[in-house]
Each structure stands twice: as C-alpha cells, then as structure tokens.
Amino acid sequence: MISLESSIIRFKDVFKKYSPDNIIFSGIDLEIEKGEFVFLTGPSGVGKSTMLRILFCAERPTSGEIWVDGVALSSLSNAQVPYLRRKIGVIFQDFKLLSNRTIFDNVALSLEVIGLGKKQAEQRVMQVLEGVGLTGKMSHYPLRLSGGEQQRVAIARAVVNRPSIILADEPTGNLDLQRTEEVMMLMEELNARGATIIFATHDERLFENTHRRVLRCLNGKIRT
C-alpha cells in the first residue's frame, strides 16, 4: 500500500456519468506515486481522455474525491483552478494550438500566463523547440504544419514550464516509428528529472516490454 504522502495523485470512489445511460467511471480507486510513469490504456471511447480532463479540472467528477499534489479538487474554486493547471502539463489529443499565433508564441503561451520575463521565456522556448526538432519552423503558423509537427508543438507547450505532472493524451498518435521513439525518450528524460507522467495510449506496443505500471480502463473500472 502506497502511503498518502508519496502519492501525488489519488482517486477515491470516483464516479463520472454524462447521463444516466452514459456512465464512464463507476467507482475508481487509484494512487499514483510521485515520479511514477504510468500508462493508461483501453479501447477507444472508454474514458482515457475523460480521466485526464478530470485531473486538470476541465471536467468535474459526478461523485468521489481526487487529490492532486495534496489538494482535494472538489475544494478548488474556479479562480484557483489556473494555479493547479500550472503544475500540470497537458498534451491534448487534439493539440489545441492557437491558429493565429506562431509556433514560438504557442509554446511561449504557457510561460506568458505565469508571467515569466520575455528574455527568460525566449531562452526556454528555444531550448524546448530544439528538443522536439522544430527550431526551423518556429515562425510558422500551426495550420501550415503536418499533424506530427503539430503534435510536437503540443508536447513542447506542455513541458516548457517544467510541470511536476505531465498528462499525455495519445502524444504519439500521429507520429511515425522514429518520432514515436523520440517522444518516448523525451518522456523518459522528463520522468528522470522528476516529473510524474500519465501516458494515455491505445498502442500496446509502447508498453509491451516495459516495467512500468499499466492502468487498463474497462467497463467503468481501472485494473492494474
């Protein structure tokens, strides 16, 4: 049994239903340790994205309680939610890039909202863009990039403010084998530096030979 102190994420009897006949979770108990790297898998439509959305308060559970970094999410007011989100980097399944801003500005947005100085922000953005191999396209607009490139921008924006938790929703969904390898390496590296990572994917190959914990969603429950 993992002690409360070391678990950075904890679900207790969490239910989520959109309507009486659309029940996504029916009683989830789960603990994720600080610095852990877990895979979240299950068939399409099972609720992987929903679980991540609950974690960064884009969705509220129907009942039950969730603690993130010691904070009970039900106790957070709308005004406090942004401060929670600054601790969490989210790689969205649909990227959620601003089409009227350049790649550089999209990545810089995460730093802009926390009020980081321009000089410092620029340095960090360049560093992260280099990490995902997009330095050459930083003044392009998202819609002029390929799906894989957009995905890497989304990854860059999620990690640029060095969050302690990273929620990756199918971050390799649009990438070829080599790029997938690179993203996995990047995730490993972030994890090695102390970030807790939840990696949602339906691609079994990504965790075939891993020693990592794999959470499987099925019928409203999660099995380890």
Binding site: F56, N78, Y83, R85, K96, N100, L109, V113, I114
Partner: protein
Amino acid sequence: MTLAILCRRAFSDLRQDFCAQLITTMVVSLSILIFAFFTLLYFNLQYFVDRFGTELGLTIFLTKDTPKDRIPSLHQKLIGLSEVEKVTYISSEEAFRRLEHFLKNEKDVLEGVDPQFLPPSFEIQINRAMFQLNRIRQLAGEIDKWPEVSKVQFGQEWIDRLYVFSGLVRTIVAITGILLLFTAAFVVTNTIKLTVYARQEELEIMRLVGATNMFIQGPFLVEAFLQGLLGSSLALGIVLGGYRFLQGFEAKSELFRGVSICFIPWHYTVAIIASSVLLCVIGTALAMRRFLRL
C-alpha cells in the same frame, strides 16, 4: 501582471484583429451617433422654448398723461427687478417713427396725425436665467397695478401654446431617445458578443494552460474601453461638426437669422461617453464569462 504588459497584449490583439475591432467601434459610434442626434434635438427644443419666451419679453404701455420726469424713476424701478435684464424706453415720438418706418411707402396715411397719439412704453427683456412662465405672469400682474401703467402686454397665449406643444414634442423625442438607447445597448452588446465568440477557442486554450481569468480578460477589457471611448467620442465629434456647420448657416443666411441653436450640455456629453465605455466593458465581461468557467 503590469499595466505595460497588459497594454502591449491589448495592442498586439488590436493589430491582429483590426477589422473586427474597427467594426465594433463603428457600431458603437453609429449607435451613439443616432442617440446623440436625438439628445441634441431634445436640448434644442428646450432651448428654443426658453429663448422664445425671453425674447418675447414684456411691453409696458404707460398712460398718455404720464409726466416726462416720472420716466427715469420708473426706469430705475424696472431695472431693479431681479427678473429684468434690460429696459428700453420708447417715447411716443419713437413709437411714431417706428410706425412710419413700418408703413414705408404708405406712410402718407399718417399725415397730419399728432406724433403724440401713441402711448409711451417700456420694452423689457427678461433675464434668461430667471425665465419661468409663472413668474413672468406674476410680474406682469404686479406691474399692471402701478398707477402710471395702462397695460402690460406679453405673448402669454403664445407661450402657453408653445409650452404645451413643445412639452409634447419633447416627450416624444425623449421616449424615442430612450428606445434608441436600448437598441444601441442591444446592438453594441451583441456585436461585442460576436467578436468574443470568434475568439472562443483562444479563450478556452488560454484557460487550459493555466491563465487566470484576469489575465485573459485584461486585454479584452482594455479593447472594450478603447472601443467605447473612441466610438462615442467619434459620434459626438460628428454631432459637434454638424452643429458647427448649422451655426455657420445661422450666421450667414437671412433665413436662419435669429434662429439660434445650442449643443448638448457638456455634462451630458461626458455622461454619454462614460455610459458608452461602461456598456462596452460590462458587455465584454459578460460575454466572456461563459468561456471562463472550465
């Protein structure tokens, strides 16, 4: 977040979204313009009635046998009244000359008529600030009781009729103005809603990456402030331009001589600008609210 950063973000938004911002400003401007036009109309009606009343003034006819040496003391007495702005004495001879002038070519009919046959009179101009129909009526009644006075004349029936009529017109203009105000508020808030909705995705994404509502709203509110300020100032500027144009007419044209117009009182123009700014800012804040919940 400092004010400088806020303004920088607002202006970068303005540049990116120049067209939409311009359209919103134009809508604000047009709405305020229509409303301001009616306000101008309203104040000019009021101004016209007040001025018309004072210009009619009072004419005090003296009895024909009033001795000449009583005139200065009567003059003194009249000028001492607080309602009175200016007193002009018209002697019998002066009245006769005016009649001759009025008759022009027909003045032969006055041949052989005694120049003293017209009574001497005082013409009184009413102090504009003091003008009130009831007070003037009372004043006329009092002066009428003086022994030297044979008759006090003023266009009372005219003023009465004018008051009733202008009261009616003013009510109509005021009601129209208020309806226009609602229409303007409705049009402006809906235009703002459209510009906010067009950027809905941006708002949601900013919120998802950890921006506080104040951070997201800040530039929008600055933009709304500028839109309200510029839009209403532009509208009032146009109305002022039109007013100056008409004033020019008034000075030159024979037709308009004596028809004087006034501008909207300055505290009303300030109120119009302030309300327009408030409307834009509150409209924006309300339109944004629904995107800042998640």
